[in-house]
């Protein structure tokens, strides 16, 4: 009887294997936990294999890892077309039907999703130095993923996308600009009728934290990689006390922009993120908590 639960993918796993067969996390290492409770996601070992259905995926490389699929007959994965690294000519490639093409294009999201059908081999990789994260999803489990972090998912995982509703407006009466610090839309993946595998790619290192009911954290909006569907998110604005070094700025335009994530559930952040934008005054914003020091 297998009683081991992988500490990273939270699925029953095989304690005798060197790596978790579902998510590739090494089994024989100690947790690397910071004093404040962030757990470092261990990189998937070079050439580790993950099983899904009758197929498997092998992670090759450590700097910009590629995910190499050996797809069985009747099984498929889907992905954004720009992450395709190579394919066997035998692998059937086709595009996936998508709703809301116009909105996706206007929001800068990938317009075309491709499907690769087995039997055959195919490899995918993103173009940042970082890590591949494997998230096995159980039947009915749903997860939110920041846009452009998605690498691929197995065919039985349903793909949807939703407005993040995290925004603020800067500018003056003549010209205004709406900013989406977490992206305008997020990807939502749900294991529809049976377990599936979701692969993400995150630049830099990845850290995970489990939030208790009502526990909250402030994080850089662009550093969020994924979160459980139970975790709530909204904008948080902080205005540091003006100590005279920026006297031409009022308390209202010199600010830090965070998102507040509130448990229960899991959140993951990446160590490479976009730097905050220029500090123009915020004229309007989505629901936010505020603090002035």
């Amino acid at each position: 009887m297998n009683t081991y639960v992988c500490r990273f993918c939270r699925q029953p796993s095989d304690p005798s294997a060197p790596t978790c067969p579902l998510c590739g996390a090494p089994v024989d290492i100690r947790d690397s936990v910071t004093d404040s409770g962030w757990v470092k996601q261990p990189p998937i070992r070079d050439m580790a294999k993950l099983q899904f259905g009758q197929s498997h995926v092998q992670i090759a490389g450590t700097m910009v890892p590629s995910a190499e699929f050996n797809l069985a007959q009747q099984e498929m994965v889907y992905f954004s077309h720009h992450v395709l690294l190579w394919a066997d000519p035998a692998t059937k490639l086709q595009n996936m039907s998508m709703r809301g093409g116009w909105k996706r294009m206007m929001a800068g999201m990938p317009l075309i999703m491709m499907e690769a059908h087995g039997p055959g081999h195919i490899a995918l990789s993103d173009n940042h130095a970082g890590e591949v994260i494997a998230l096995p999803l159980q039947n009915g489990q749903s997860i939110w993923v920041k846009e452009h972090r998605f690498l691929t998912a197995t065919g039985n995982i349903r793909y949807d996308w939703t407005s993040n509703d995290i925004w603020y407006v800067t500018g003056d009466d003549n010209e205004q600009e709406t900013h989406y610090p977490m992206g305008q839309y997020g990807d939502v993946f749900t294991a529809a009728d049976r377990p599936g595998l979701l692969l993400l790619h995150a630049p830099g290192n990845v850290f995970i934290r489990d939030l208790q009911q009502g526990q909250s954290l402030l994080i850089q909006p662009s550093s969020l990689v994924y979160r459980d569907a139970t975790v709530r998110v909204h904008l948080h604005l902080e205005y540091p006390r003006n100590q005279g070094f920026a006297f031409w700025r009022s308390n209202f335009d010199y600010r830090n922009i965070f998102v507040r994530v509130t448990g229960p559930g899991r959140v993951a952040v990446q160590s490479i993120f976009e730097r905050p934008e220029e500090m123009d005054m915020i004229r309007n914003h989505s629901y936010a908590t505020r603090h002035r020091w």
């Binding site: 294999k49 090759a60 450590t62 700097m63 590629s66 395709l84 000519p89 093409g101 990938p110 075309i112």
Partner: protein, 262 residues
């Protein structure tokens, strides 16, 4: 024998003296036959002609060359990291205007020994050390070669076919390195991780053109079009490079997608 470059080494050696590949670790080969290029250990030293090359760093590695008298290396001028004052620089005779039109560096510089000189590119990745035996021809994606030893003949070839040039994502030219009766050393920089596969005669593989790094000249390249429909927004064409063996193909896992720029 080194599994990467096939050079013979002393039994007690821990890294190959010709290409620097660690000899005391197993080759990393995926199920479909892609082999990771050897991850060179920090400060690994290798030899070519009478000179040595030391590889320093792991994230953006540097190749530091100690050139013997009579030896030389050539390189694109912007990869030069530092050099001894005494090392003379000159330029290689190329068809400059033609190169410029193709977006390749106008000048290929040459450094001659004796003295020390170091090179690096500006992206996280790996150095791929390719010792060339006499009578070899290797084609390399433009802007990917770091340096080559003086015994290697350098030329550049135009990628044939309008579809290849316009949609191939490899640019219009490839660097070609040829050895005649002398061996030589070629070092490339691959972005991210580098993988190599040897194709049998007639065996084909489809590759994202931005990921292509190098190939034996016996491997042919042909652009293949895949049409993708996106509902009311029409259709998009996707282009992949179809490589046909026999020979080696090298790819890099980090690249700029030629179609989307992502």
């Amino acid at each position: 024998m080194c599994g990467w470059c096939r050079a013979n080494n002393q039994p007690e050696a821990t890294s190959c003296v010709t290409c620097g590949a660690p000899l005391d670790v197993r080759d990393k080969v995926s199920d479909s036959g892609w082999r990771e290029s050897p991850r060179l250990r920090d400060m690994t030293e290798l030899r070519f002609s009478q000179s040595t090359c030391q590889v320093e760093g792991e994230l953006v590695p540097v190749a530091e060359i100690a050139l013997a008298p009579q030896d030389g290396v050539y390189f694109e001028h912007h990869v030069l990291l530092w050099k001894d004052e005494s090392v003379p620089l000159s330029s290689l005779k190329t068809n400059g205007p033609r190169r410029s039109l193709g977006g390749m560096p106008h000048i290929v510089s040459v450094a001659n020994g004796p003295g020390r000189i170091a090179f690096s590119r500006d992206a996280p990745g790996e150095l791929v050390v390719l010792p060339l035996h006499p009578g070899m021809e290797l084609d390399v994606r433009e802007h990917a070669f770091l340096l080559a030893s003086h015994s290697i003949t350098y030329s550049f070839i135009r990628i044939k076919g309008l579809a290849n040039a316009l949609h191939g994502g490899n640019g219009m030219w490839m660097d070609r390195f040829v050895t005649s009766n002398q061996p030589g050393l070629l070092i490339l920089h691959g972005n991210g991780n580098v993988l190599q596969r040897t194709l049998g005669a007639g065996e084909k593989i489809l590759i994202e053109p931005g990921a292509f790094l190098y190939k034996d000249s016996s491997v042919t390249l042909q652009t293949k079009q895949i049409q993708l429909k996106s509902g009311m927004l029409g259709h998009h064409n996707m282009y992949l490079a179809e490589m046909t063996g026999p020979g080696r193909v090298g790819i890099q896992s980090m690249y700029v997608h030629h179609g989307s720029g992502e």
